[in-house]
């Protein structure tokens, strides 16, 4: 399907995903065989407290082992810096909890390989199939959609989706700065301010196969406040004046 000499790195952030990580990585390798994609897999172990690391060691893929827990943003940036240094031209984030099916990955890569976009976001809301998250979460997502449209003028329907692929131009930007905590909606503002072309593609997502969401109902207010503030600040920081 996709025949390109350019190499792709799938970054799998992993925090206490001992039950699902092996499955995620083997699906990605399966994709490499079935689609002949030049895809490498890098697992970033964010200082897991379970047996994730020993599971990852046995998988035979590349992995980075963080000595301190940095959170999803810090772990992803570690992977992005790795990819940038090693000269990968495309990176894609695939969560370690198994909610991003590897079979959907070619859809994400297609617009990048065709040069149509700099950032491709896998969205749950464009198509109508698969797992669609809770009502409260969707309400929050609607708010971020509004905020993004206001700040950068681009509409991203699923701004909390972590299923994303970047080209090398984006990779350079995120290896310089990437938000630490709850990075997804803020990164959209960041991309918009850098003038990157974002494209959403409809993907099917599964319910997480294990682990717990980083956003519980208890800290959802903190989440909304933090993300709104950091979106505004990243807008101010990158605003051309």
């Amino acid at each position: 399907m996709i025949n390109s000499p350019r190499s792709v790195l799938a970054i799998v952030p992993c925090y206490n995903e001992e039950s699902t990580i092996a499955q995620v990585v083997s699906e990605l390798y399966g994709l490499r065989r079935s689609h002949r994609l030049p895809i490498d897999v890098l697992v970033v172990n964010d200082c897991s407290t379970d047996r994730s690391l020993s599971v990852i060691r046995r998988l035979g893929c590349d992995y980075l082992d963080l000595s301190v827990n940095l959170g999803i943003g810090g772990a992803m940036q570690c992977g992005y810096r790795f990819a940038f240094r090693r000269g990968y031209s495309i990176v894609v984030q695939v969560d370690g909890d198994g909610q991003h099916p590897a079979s959907e990955l070619p859809k994400l890569l297609q617009p990048l390989l065709a040069g149509e976009a700099d950032v491709v976001i896998g969205s749950r809301f464009l198509g109508q199939t698969g797992f669609r998250s809770t009502y409260a979460r969707r309400l929050g997502i609607r708010f971020f959609r509004f905020l993004n449209r206001l700040l950068v003028g681009q509409t991203v329907h699923d701004s909390t989706s972590g299923f994303r692929a970047f080209n090398r131009q984006t990779l350079e930007i995120v290896s310089r700065y990437y938000p630490d905590e709850y990075p997804e909606p803020e990164a959209i503002v960041q991309f918009g301010m850098h003038g990157l072309r974002m494209k959403e593609v409809a993907v099917e997502m599964r319910e997480r196969q294990g682990g717990t969401s980083s956003i519980s109902s208890l800290n959802s207010i903190y989440y909304m406040t933090k993300v709104t503030l950091s979106s505004l600040f990243v807008f101010l920081r990158l605003k051309p004046d």
Binding site: Y63, L64, D65, S67, L70, G74, Q77, C78, R81, F82
Partner: protein, 147 residues
């Protein structure tokens, strides 16, 4: 206008001097970096001035049109505390970003060394100098009263 009673003056002098002693000790033993100690030394100096110069607070309060002199003290003290807290937040933010960069670098170096066959050695690291938990000192700072 009342002048601060002698008893309180002696107490505040003692408090200030012992506070200064603790700070100097901390710097001398390398527990407090000089750049962060500047503000503490300055604060102690101000406290010391007002402990010695008994009418000073009233004098300045009258000069500024503050009727109740201790409220001027509270105002200045709270403002100084907020400034210092902000300073600490800035320092912490910088440290956090440096730690993140270091963690990334270490992870990358671990990755690279993992590819060389000789690098895999079980580590029994000796504790770094200066991190011995037996050395930890509790910096008890006596409260100093100036009004």
């Amino acid at each position: 206008m009342d002048i601060i009673p002698l008893k309180i003056q002696i107490m505040s002098l003692l408090g200030t001097v012992s506070f200064m002693y603790v700070i100097v000790r901390l710097i001398a033993r390398g527990k407090l970096r000089e750049e962060y100690s500047v503000v503490w030394i300055f604060c102690t100096a101000v406290l010391l001035v007002f402990s010695v110069w008994r009418q000073g607070l009233q004098y300045i309060a009258a000069l500024l049109g503050v009727y109740y002199a201790p409220s001027l003290l509270f105002l200045v003290a709270i403002f100084a505390i907020i400034c210092f807290l902000l300073h600490l937040s800035i320092v912490i933010s910088r440290l956090q970003s440096q730690i993140k960069d270091l963690a990334h670098e270490i992870a990358y170096l671990k990755f690279r060394s993992g590819h060389e066959p000789t690098a895999e050695t079980p580590e029994a690291r000796p504790p770094l100098p200066g991190t011995d938990p037996a050395e930890t000192e509790t910096a008890g700072t006596p409260p100093s009263v100036t009004s």
